[in-house]
C-alpha cells in the first residue's frame, strides 16, 4: 500500500534552527500526531511538507508522488492553522469555494455536508470556534486534498472549547477518512487524536510509534519527561452498562465510569489517583483493587514515584508518610486501588 505521506531523510537548515534527518510515513486514513515542546520545529516541519520550505536534503512523497520540488499550490494539502486562518474579507461560501470558483455545486454540497449551509453568507468574524473549524475543513476539502496538516489549531482556545472541538474534529476526520498530520504540544490532544505519533525535539524525531508505546515505553528520558508519567494501557471493552465499563487489561479486569464504549480503548490512569495499602479495603466504592508488586521506587521532590507490576504496569505517586508507613521497596507486595471514576478512557479505532 502506498503511504499517504512519506518523508525520507528530510533535512533543512533555517538560520540557527534545523530539521535533522526526518523520516516517517503516514498510512492512508491515519492520524499522525507530532508532539513536541514549542521551538521543536513542529510548524517548520508542517510548512516543509506543505511546500513553503525546500528541504536541503531528502525527499517528500505525497500519495506516492514526489513533491519535494513542487510549490504549495501543486501539493494538494489542506493546511489548518491555529484559529484556522479563514479569509476575513470573504463569506463562508466564498471561503469554501476559494479553491474551486468554477464549481458552485461542489461548494453547496460541502456546505451541506459540514452543516454550514445556514451560515453561507456570514463573515468568519461572526462564527463560533466549531463553525470556523468546519469552514476550514470544507475550504480545504474543496480542492480534494490528499492529506490534512494541522498546526496546533486549538491551542488558542480555552480548555472547555478545546476539548469539544478536539472531539468534533476527531469525529469529522474519521468520517472523512483522510490522512492527517497534527502537531501539538498537548499530550491529551495527542492521546485522543493519534493513531500513531512521533516526538519531535530540536528538529529531530526521537520516537515514532503508537501512543501506548510512546507513553509506556518512552525511548529516552526526554520523551518520558515530556509525555509525563501517566499509565496508558491498551484495553478491550468487555461490557458496558449504565456508565460502568468493564475492560480487560491482559489477564486482569478494570472498571471505569464512562459513557465511552468503543471495543478498543486506551486506559489512562494518573499516578496521583493510585492508592496503595497493605490490605484490601472493604469499601465497595473502590472496585479496582489489584495485588501488586513494587518494581521500583524513586524520590520525586516531595513525592515518591512507585512503579508497580499488577499483571500490567502501573505507576503511583505516594507521600513520604505513606512511603514510610508501607515500607515500600522493590519486591514488597501491596494492594493498589484506583477509583473507577478516576480512570480516563480514550476510544481507539
Amino acid at each position: 500500500m502506498t503511504a499517504a505521506l512519506a518523508l525520507d531523510r528530510v533535512s533543512l537548515s533555517l538560520g540557527a534552527f534545523a530539521l535533522r534527518d526526518i523520516s516517517f510515513a503516514v498510512a492512508p486514513g491515519e492520524i499522525f500526531v507530532v508532539l513536541g515542546p514549542s521551538g521543536a520545529g513542529k510548524s517548520v516541519l508542517l510548512e516543509t511538507i506543505a511546500g513553503f520550505y525546500q528541504p536541503d536534503a531528502g525527499t517528500i512523497h505525497i500519495g506516492g508522488r514526489d513533491v519535494t520540488a513542487a510549490p504549495p499550490e501543486a501539493r494538494r494539502v489542506g493546511f489548518m492553522f491555529q484559529d484556522y486562518a479563514l479569509f476575513p474579507h470573504l463569506t463562508v461560501a466564498q471561503n469554501v469555494q476559494f479553491a474551486r470558483r468554477d464549481d458552485p455545486a461542489r461548494t453547496r454540497d460541502l456546505l451541506a455536508r459540514l452543516a454550514l449551509a445556514h451560515l453561507a453568507d456570514r463573515k468568519p468574524a461572526n462564527l463560533s470556534g466549531g463553525e470556523k473549524q468546519r469552514v476550514a475543513l470544507a475550504r480545504a476539502l474543496a480542492m480534494d486534498p490528499a492529506l490534512f496538516l494541522f498546526d496546533e489549531p486549538l491551542s488558542a482556545l480555552d480548555a472547555r472549547a478545546r476539548d469539544a472541538l478536539r472531539d468534533e474534529l476527531k469525529t469529522l476526520l474519521r468520517q472523512l477518512g483522510l490522512p492527517a498530520i497534527y502537531v501539538t504540544h498537548d499530550q491529551t490532544e495527542a492521546l485522543v487524536l493519534a493513531d500513531k505519533m512521533a516526538i519531535l525535539r530540536d528538529g529531530a524525531l526521537l520516537q515514532i510509534g503508537a501512543p501506548s508505546e510512546i507513553f509506556n515505553a518512552p525511548a529516552d528520558e526526554f520523551v518520558a519527561n515530556f509525555v509525563g508519567v501517566e499509565t496508558v494501557l491498551e484495553g478491550e471493552t468487555l461490557a458496558a452498562s449504565d456508565g460502568d465499563v468493564r475492560i480487560a487489561l491482559g489477564s486482569r479486569e478494570i472498571h471505569a465510569v464512562s459513557d465511552h464504549a468503543a471495543r478498543r480503548v486506551l486506559v489512562c490512569i494518573r499516578p496521583e489517583d493510585v492508592a496503595l495499602a497493605h490490605a484490601a479495603r472493604g469499601d465497595s466504592s473502590v472496585r479496582n483493587q489489584f495485588d501488586a508488586r513494587v518494581v521500583a521506587v524513586a524520590a520525586l521532590g516531595p513525592l515518591f514515584k512507585i512503579t508497580l507490576d499488577c499483571g500490567f504496569p502501573l505507576i503511583a505517586y505516594v507521600t513520604k508518610q505513606s512511603y514510610l508507613e508501607l515500607n515500600l521497596a522493590p519486591g514488597v507486595r501491596v494492594i493498589a486501588s484506583v477509583k473507577a471514576t478516576a480512570i480516563h478512557l480514550i476510544d481507539r479505532k
Binding site: E47, A50, G51, F52, P71, P72, E73, R75, R76, V77, G78, F79, F81, A85, F87, P88, H89, F98, A99, R139, A140, A142, M143
Partner: protein, 271 residues
C-alpha cells in the same frame, strides 16, 4: 481598544485639552477667517472666470492621475518593504522618505535636470514621441508624484503588514499561485491601507505649489493660479479663489476618506 485602567487625572486632561485647543484653533482660525472675509459677489465673480475654473479642474485631474500612478508604482515597493527581507532595506526606506525632507523648489529644480528640455528623460522622450514635460499635464504630474508618492508607499506598506501571512499561505495550499494570492487575498485585505495612502497622496498632490511652479508654470494649477491672482490683483481675488479651491479639495478629500474608512470615520476618523 479601551481598557479600564487608571483614569488620567482631571487636571492633566484639562491642561492638555487647553493646549490641544490652542493647536486646533491655530489650524482652523486662518481658514475660517479667510472664508468669513468672502462676499458672495466676490466668490461668484471669481468662479465665473474661465481661467480659475480651468485651473481647479486641472488640479483635480492631475492629483487623481498622480494618485493612480502612485498606486501603480508605489504598491509593489510597499509590498516588498512589508514582506521581503533584503540587504539595504534601510536605504530603500530612506529613499522613499526622502521627498518629505527636500524643499519643494529644490525638487522642481532637480526634476528640471531630468525631465526638462535638456534632461535625459525629458530630451529623449521629446525626441522619440514629441511629448514634453514642460508646459504640460505630464510635467505637473511628475512634480506632484515626486512630493506625494511617499504617503502611498508607507500607508500601503502598513496595510500589507497588517495582512496575516498565514492567510497567504493557506491560499497557496488551496491551489492559488503567487500572483493569484496577491490579487485575491493580499491586496483586498491591504486595500484600506492602500486607499489611505492614495488619499494622502491625492491631498498632498493637489496642494503642491513649489515643485509644480518650477517645472511647469503653465498650464496653471489652482495653487499657481491663486499665486498669480495674488500677484496681479491682490488679496481679494486670490483669497476668493482660495476658498473655492479649498471647498473642492476638501470635499474630495472627505469623500476619499469616507471610501477608505466607511461611514463612521468620515470626516473625523483616525488616519
Amino acid at each position: 481598544m479601551t481598557a479600564k485602567t487608571l483614569a488620567p487625572s482631571r487636571s492633566l486632561l484639562l491642561a492638555f485639552w487647553l493646549i490641544g485647543g490652542v493647536l486646533l484653533a491655530f489650524i482652523l482660525l486662518p481658514l475660517l477667517q479667510m472664508i468669513a472675509n468672502q462676499s458672495p459677489a466676490r466668490l461668484a465673480h471669481v468662479a465665473a472666470m474661465d481661467e480659475v475654473r480651468a485651473a481647479i479642474i486641472l488640479s483635480v485631474q492631475a492629483a487623481f492621475l498622480t494618485a493612480a500612478l502612485a498606486g501603480i508604482l508605489g504598491v509593489p515597493l510597499a509590498y516588498l518593504l512589508a514582506r521581503a527581507a533584503f540587504p539595504g532595506k534601510g536605504i530603500v526606506e530612506a529613499i522613499v522618505d526622502l521627498p518629505l525632507a527636500i524643499p519643494h523648489t529644490v525638487v522642481g529644480i532637480a526634476l528640471l535636470f531630468v525631465f526638462g528640455r535638456t534632461g535625459w528623460i525629458g530630451a529623449s522622450v521629446n525626441a522619440l514621441t514629441g511629448y514634453q514635460f514642460w508646459g504640460t499635464l505630464g510635467g505637473i504630474i511628475v512634480a506632484m508624484l515626486f512630493v506625494s508618492v511617499t504617503y502611498t508607499v508607507n500607508a500601503a506598506r502598513v496595510g500589507f503588514e497588517s495582512v496575516d501571512p498565514r492567510l497567504e499561505k493557506v491560499a497557496r495550499t488551496l491551489g492559488a499561485g503567487p500572483w493569484s494570492v496577491f490579487t485575491r487575498v493580499t491586496l483586498p485585505l491591504a486595500w484600506r491601507g492602500v486607499l489611505t495612502g492614495l488619499t494622502l497622496t491625492f491631498a498632498r498632490a493637489i496642494s503642491e505649489f513649489g515643485a509644480v511652479i518650477v517645472l511647469t508654470y503653465y498650464p496653471m494649477t489652482a495653487p499657481v493660479k491663486i499665486y498669480d491672482l495674488f500677484l496681479q490683483f491682490g488679496l481679494d481675488d486670490s483669497s476668493a479663489m482660495a476658498v473655492l479651491f479649498l471647498a473642492v479639495a476638501l470635499t474630495l478629500f472627505i469623500l476619499l476618506r469616507y471610501l477608505a474608512y466607511g461611514r463612521r470615520a468620515a470626516p473625523g476618523g483616525r488616519a
